[in-house]
Symmetry: C2
Subunit: 91 residues, 2 copies
DNA sequence: TTAACATTTAACCTAAATGTTAAATATATT
DNA sequence: AATATATTTAACATTTAGGTTAAATGTTAA
């Protein structure tokens, strides 16, 4: 985990869109798939990249696996970028 | 340009380190190279990725080309991440 | 236990990213 | 003009990422 994994995970548009969708609440893998023109296997791998980066957490409930966003790791990224911008706290 | 290019550029550790170095002031391509165990050609391409993303600007001065950081494009990234985190302005 | 459904994993393919060396370009100097 | 220095670009090799299909796994329910 860490900045590298976070930024790598965020660098793909499908993964960003998944995170965006999860803002409104958790979704099952299948529901997530429906929103994209790629196979479920492909989305499943995207989800595992997000999971490895700890940007999402998953919970199995019966036959479904629900994903929810975890924003805590974004703190480190925000700090890194802020520092790059000059760390003036403002601006 | 845009979020995609910015995040892609930031997803490589060498490029992040270059940006980090440029925080303290501008450097020539050669000076930048000295800090990495890869060839100048490789660094040159990293610099062009950063330049395409508008994260750095370059100025030729005689035989040297100086690079300086440009943080303005990071604003969009910060906003995107903040929004993902819940957009509560605080926290 | 078998069938059906949800999801992941494996095997494979192609395209993109990164690194190398060698050639090209731009500037400075003699 | 010729040479030296700084940097980029081209050509190529290797690795990594992302997509596909097919097989495997986990769960539910008949």
């Amino acid at each position: 985990m860490g900045l590298q994994q976070t930024l790598k995970a965020l660098s793909d548009p499908i993964r960003r869109e998944i995170l965006n969708m999860l803002k409104s609440g958790r979704m099952s893998a299948g529901e997530i798939c429906e929103h994209f023109p790629v196979t479920g296997a492909s989305i499943s791998r995207h989800l595992s990249v997000l999971k490895d980066a700890d940007l999402v957490r998953d919970t199995r409930e019966g036959q479904f696996i629900y994903y929810q966003i975890n924003t805590s790791v974004l703190e480190e990224t925000m700090l890194w970028i802020a520092d790059l911008k000059g760390d003036n706290d403002n601006d």
